[in-house]
């Protein structure tokens, strides 16, 4: 797993989870992750794929520092990396407006070009609205805007496009890829949607099993502009044949 060489001399983000378990109500321990290890090269787009309930969100929470009760290490390339996250739910502060929600997440002294960001995300008219006045799709866009506005070095996303209509989801996917590439962000996106992952990512990390571990590490072999038509279909089919338990389309 150490074979990915860092781009541009920067070192990768290294994740080594030896063991992660949860205590059940009957005091027995359920092991969810074992020997799950991968490293993320800087400025790459990675997707963590697996069936629901296999420990993808748990992995992400460990990376985010929200779950420290595990055996293993997460080594960040720099100690003061800027991290941003998009959770499964938008997690906006209901008592703050769209604009306030985004600005509150900014580090001290940061002044990104929010006008452009709002325009790109279709939020220009929504800045003074409260989250309760928005649809779920709009709330998700605000969560994305908040994550981008931070200008993160590392962006972690947990199924950010579920329950959106395909058209909106597609537009937001393109937007996410564009912004990530433009700002050289290291992305790890959790999803169970293989088609979505294969369209967006440089690299697919497949996890499965109980306890879960990495069962596949696949570089997507074609440029993003070529990811449609028969070639792309063949790639997905091959992926499905090689990882029948993990990849379902």
């Amino acid at each position: 797993m150490n074979s990915i060489s860092p781009v541009g001399g920067a070192s990768p983000l290294e994740v080594r989870i030896r063991r992660k378990s949860f205590a059940s109500a009957d005091r027995s321990e359920t092991e969810v992750l074992r020997d799950l290890a991968f490293s993320l090269a800087p400025a790459t787009f990675n997707c963590l794929i697996g069936p629901s309930g296999c420990g993808k969100t748990t992995t992400l929470r460990i990376l985010l520092g929200l779950d420290r009760d595990y055996d293993g290490t997460v080594r960040w390339p720099k100690p003061d990396m800027r991290i941003a996250a998009v959770f499964q739910e938008p997690r906006l502060l209901p008592w703050r407006t769209v604009d306030q929600n985004v600005r509150l997440a900014l580090p001290d002294g940061a002044s990104p070009d929010l006008d452009t960001l709002y325009r790109v995300l279709g939020l220009a008219e929504m800045r003074t609205r409260y989250p309760a006045e928005l649809s779920l799709g709009l709330e998700r866009r605000v969560a994305l805007a908040r994550a981008f506005a931070v200008m993160p070095d590392v962006l972690l996303l947990d199924e950010p496009f579920v329950s959106l209509d395909e058209h909106t989801a597609d537009r937001l996917r393109d937007l996410l890829v564009d912004l990530a590439v433009m700002h050289a962000v290291t992305v790890l996106m959790v999803t169970h949607n293989v088609r979505e992952a294969a369209r967006m990512a440089d690299r697919l990390l497949l996890i499965n099993g109980r306890p879960a571990r990495i069962v596949g590490d696949v570089m997507v072999p074609m440029p993003r502009s070529a990811r449609h038509g028969t070639d792309f279909g063949l790639f997905l089919e091959q992926l499905m044949r090689q990882h029948p338990g993990t990849v379902r389309i």
Binding site: I83, A84, A85, R91, L93, L104, Y130, E133
Partner: protein
């Protein structure tokens, strides 16, 4: 305000009942509403009324601010930390069961017949109620929003101001509402026992003279002040703080 006519009717009926009972009793210590009103006017013209109302109001504001600040801080700490809760809970139970009079007498004996002792005594009587109400709110804080704040590296102050306090607002408001009426009643006792101005002091004076009309005049005047605070301060502030809730259709 469609219920305004009903409310006015209720007040007129109350005054009529009072006047009738006073006429029926025909005694000096059961004064008619008109007698009380003429005393009110007399005291207002001499300026005494406003001097004593002002003194009491200042004590109410000071004791209220102190009790709310201390009670909220302790309540949030207890709601968030199980250890703090277990350590302080017996103290809270002790304080809430200690009669107001005992706390007042002890403060006056230990600190002296001073303004500090008076305000501290009133605050100490109110603090345990605030703690208990606010603690409930702190136990119900949404961990998802706290996680969001942690991931985006909100400072401690930013988290309290934008994430914690807005969630606590209904509980703090409830504590404040019940607090204001409780506090002004205790302030009167404190003034009665050991101050040389304020509504409580005046009531003490007229009690010794058996002047029921003046006692009622001062009590009613302060009730009016409290009503004014309710309509001119409490309700507008609440409306401002809950502006983000979507209005019922």
């Amino acid at each position: 305000m469609t219920n305004l006519p009903l409310r006015s009717l209720s007040i007129v009926a109350f005054l009529a009942l009072w006047a009738a009972l006073a006429a029926l009793a025909g005694r000096h210590d059961v004064p008619a509403p008109s007698t009380v009103l003429s005393i009110l006017i007399r005291e207002a013209q001499s300026g005494d009324l406003f001097f004593h109302l002002g003194a009491t109001l200042a004590r109410v504001v000071a004791a209220f601010t102190l009790a709310m600040a201390a009670g909220s801080a302790i309540g949030i700490a207890m709601g968030q930390s199980r250890v703090t809760d277990r350590l302080l809970d017996p103290w809270v139970i002790l304080m809430i069961n200690l009669p107001a009079l005992v706390i007042i007498v002890l403060c006056y004996i230990w600190i002296g017949l001073t303004e500090t002792a008076a305000i501290l005594a009133v605050s100490l009587n109110k603090v345990p109620n605030v703690i208990i109400t606010v603690r409930e709110g702190a136990r119900a804080l949404d961990p998802k929003l706290s996680e969001m704040a942690a991931v985006f590296r909100f400072s401690r102050w930013k988290t309290i101001r934008h994430v914690v306090l807005p969630q606590m607002q209904p509980f703090i408001a409830a504590a404040g509402r019940s607090g204001l009426s409780l506090i002004w009643k205790i302030v009167l006792v404190v003034e009665f026992l050991g101050r040389s101005n304020g509504v409580g002091f005046q009531i003490h004076l007229y009690f010794q003279l058996f002047d029921v009309a003046s006692v009622l005049a001062y009590a009613l005047a302060f009730v009016v002040v409290m009503l004014a605070i309710e309509f001119m301060v409490v309700q507008p502030v609440e409306q401002h703080l809950t502006r983000w809730r979507s209005k019922p259709a």
